[in-house]
């Protein structure tokens, strides 16, 4: 019987977070082994690598980092005639605002990740793997290095793992505080010791041309942990969790204006927004009402809590769906015009001004744009300048239109998805809260200069000497 210092909600289904907040649990390998740890690796080493990939494909597992791409399919993109070394990279850059799940895995259950990684390395034929840990997790880097060392001592990592003839080394690589390193090709550049400017796809799909131009599989922490459970349960059995096309469990992190924020591991698609926000998170704060929700990390498009969506089913039939009835899966959120992303749910109540929310996010993206592509580098900064004006009360109604047009000039025009990540919040907030934003503006502000330089220029043009 497992007891927890912070007991999971009865609606949760704990697989990945089984050991998070578990009483008597620590990060040592002995603790992990006593709990049956590394048995799934032993099982996997007795299988054919292609059969492991087959199980992962059968499981229907979709990447938990943000894009929701099928993990097993990603693995099969390694060119079949490949003769170069293959690398596996665990993406532990967890930097999408609103996301806080990998933090608990790497701080509390490092061996689960290592076991999942070694199985995955064996499946794809990688002999060297890196865990790219964001710089802001200094303790996690230490915990992981210690865990790898202990796993090597017990021969779960290193030469001839458990007598299988398979060699694998895992190293921890720390980032240095840049959001763009969560983008897989930016991460690879960073791991090569460079500025993390993302590479253009095609041709640089990591599975074909990744680290050192060799085939490289980049998977999120949570996705790699799921691999271990897929091997234990079998792909078909795992696929019974969740709903079709949206299988397994996933960790949802709720933050912002709810009574009880936190992390919840749920079966994908088995809970609705209403159940998540009211049952698991205790509803809105006293005297408040829910206003808007960002459902999958700050880059996903915001949804109004009073919205009704018209969505098409797989058979082409149309139905309407209220926001609160949206099931928490990948496909329905996409049909509603947003995405499940990284599982980071940010909730705002009626005390929040959307201009302030927008400006906070614009500041984030202006700071984190890597600067490689002009539309994103310039656009993210201009979007921040305009939203600065809105929150300062210096904006005119046309500023809202300009802001919107800047956003639409970024997305689809950049090397990586940061372009979409930075412009979607602006596009969605304006589309859904246009009246509120315009109400904060004043047509008279169109006449005002925006800075000292333009004030001087106007004086000059008006014929007044400076």
């Amino acid at each position: 019987m497992i007891t927890y210092s912070k007991p999971p909600h009865p609606r949760e289904h704990r697989l990945i977070f089984k050991n998070v907040d578990r009483q008597g649990w620590d990060t040592s390998i002995d603790c992990y082994l006593q709990d049956g740890g590394y048995e799934d690796l032993k099982k996997a080493l007795g299988m054919e690598p292609k059969d492991i990939t087959g199980e992962v494909k059968k499981s229907g597992l979709r990447g938990r980092g943000g894009a929701g791409f099928p993990t097993g399919m990603k693995w099969t993109f390694i060119p079949p005639n490949n003769t170069k070394p293959v690398y596996l990279i665990c993406n532990c850059d967890e930097s999408e605002p609103g996301t806080f799940k990998d933090r608990y895995i790497v701080h509390q259950d490092p061996h689960q990740l290592i076991e999942g990684m070694v199985i995955s390395c064996f499946a794809v034929g990688a002999k060297i793997a890196y865990i790219y840990v964001r710089e802001e997790f200094p303790q996690a880097a230490e915990i992981l290095e210690k865990a790898i060392e202990d796993a090597r001592e017990k021969n779960f990592v290193g030469k001839n793992v458990q007598g299988s003839g398979f060699d694998v080394e895992i190293y921890v690589h720390r980032g240095a505080g840049a959001y763009i390193c969560g983008e897989e090709t930016g991460l690879i550049e960073s791991l090569e010791g460079k500025r993390p400017y993302p590479r253009i796809k095609p041709p640089y799909f990591p599975a074909a041309l990744g680290l050192y131009m060799c085939p490289t599989i980049v998977n999120n922490v949570e996705s790699l942990c799921h691999v271990k459970h897929i091997i234990r349960m079998g792909g078909d059995e795992y696929a019974k969790l969740g709903v079709p096309r949206n299988t397994g469990t996933r960790i949802i992190g709720v933050s912002g204006d709810v009574k009880k924020p936190g992390y919840f591991e749920i079966e994908v698609g088995k809970l609705t927004m209403r159940e998540l926000l009211y049952e698991l998170c205790g509803g809105p704060k006293d005297g408040r009402e829910f206003k808007a929700v960002i459902p999958g990390g700050s880059s996903s498009k915001i949804l109004r809590c009073d919205e009704t969506f018209k969505i098409k089913g797989p058979d082409g039939s149309e139905r309407s769906l209220d926001f609160m009835d949206i099931p928490l899966d990948f496909d329905t959120l996409a049909a509603c015009g947003s995405m499940a992303g990284s599982g980071g749910v940010i909730v705002m109540d009626d005390s929040r001004k959307m201009s302030w929310v927008l400006n906070n996010l614009n500041s984030f993206y202006a700071h984190e744009s890597c600067g490689q592509c002009t539309p994103c580098r310039e656009g993210s900064m201009w979007m921040k300048k305009i939203s600065d004006r809105i929150v300062d009360g210096d904006a005119s109604p046309e500023d809202v239109e300009t802001l919107e047009s800047v956003a639409y000039q970024i997305d689809g025009k950049t090397v990586c998805a940061f372009g979409e990540a930075s412009s979607w919040p602006v596009e969605a907030i304006i589309a859904k809260f246009r009246e509120e934003l315009v109400a904060e503006t004043d047509p008279k502000n169109a006449e005002k200069p925006h800075n000292a330089e333009s004030a001087a220029q106007r004086k000059f043009l008006a014929g007044e000497s400076a």
Partner: protein, 191 residues
């Protein structure tokens, strides 16, 4: 002593925190640690750029022109290849922070939880003036005594326990402005 040719290219200046960090000097122990770290990248030494910079910054507080040149030489790179890494990543510094560097999360969930107020309170208690700071070029502000410095960080990935901050390598959660004094107290007595 020779003047480093990189000296003019880096944004290094004296801060009240400088006195808490030793000047850059390579020792056999440190070089052994660095050599071991380089073995983690058997296919390309250049990959060790970030880890080496971390090891040096951790010990000397910031990355001086000399240390950047040392890393370049060690990895057989042109110094610009290291400098461009240092200037890109927010996690690398060219001047000394305070003895205790506080990074307060600025992003949405923490901002909703009051991280702006937390930053203001920390500055009030430590006498830090952030008026000359900006997020891109001068993110760090140091207290007059040099013991503390502050910087806004982007999402520290603990949105459910907002507001949060890092003090050197220690993570603190649920730090509302009312708890700022208690937080600083943990570091005031420590020498």
């Amino acid at each position: 002593m020779s003047v480093s040719p990189l000296q003019d290219s880096i944004a290094s200046h004296e801060t009240p925190g400088t006195k808490f960090f030793p000047p850059f000097e390579m020792t056999p122990e440190l070089e052994a640690e660095i050599d071991e770290r380089i073995t983690h990248y058997p296919d390309s030494k250049r990959s060790a750029t970030l880890p080496l910079l971390h090891i040096i910054q951790h010990k000397f507080g910031y990355l001086s022109a000399k240390s950047i040149e040392w890393v370049a030489k060690k990895l057989e790179l042109e110094p610009i290849k290291v400098l461009e890494v240092v200037t890109f990543y927010p996690g690398f510094r060219q001047s000394a922070p305070g003895k205790f560097h506080i990074r307060v999360c600025r992003t949405l969930s923490c901002a909703m939880g009051g991280s702006g107020e937390l930053m203001d309170r920390i500055c009030e208690l430590t006498g830090i003036d952030r008026s000359q700071s900006d997020s891109h070029h001068h993110p760090i502000a140091v207290s007059p005594c040099g013991r503390f410095s502050v910087e806004f960080a982007e999402c520290l990935a603990s949105c459910g326990t907002a507001p949060v901050c890092l003090v050197n390598d220690d993570f603190h959660e649920g730090v509302t402005a009312e708890k700022a004094e208690e937080l600083l107290g943990k570091y005031k007595e420590e020498n």
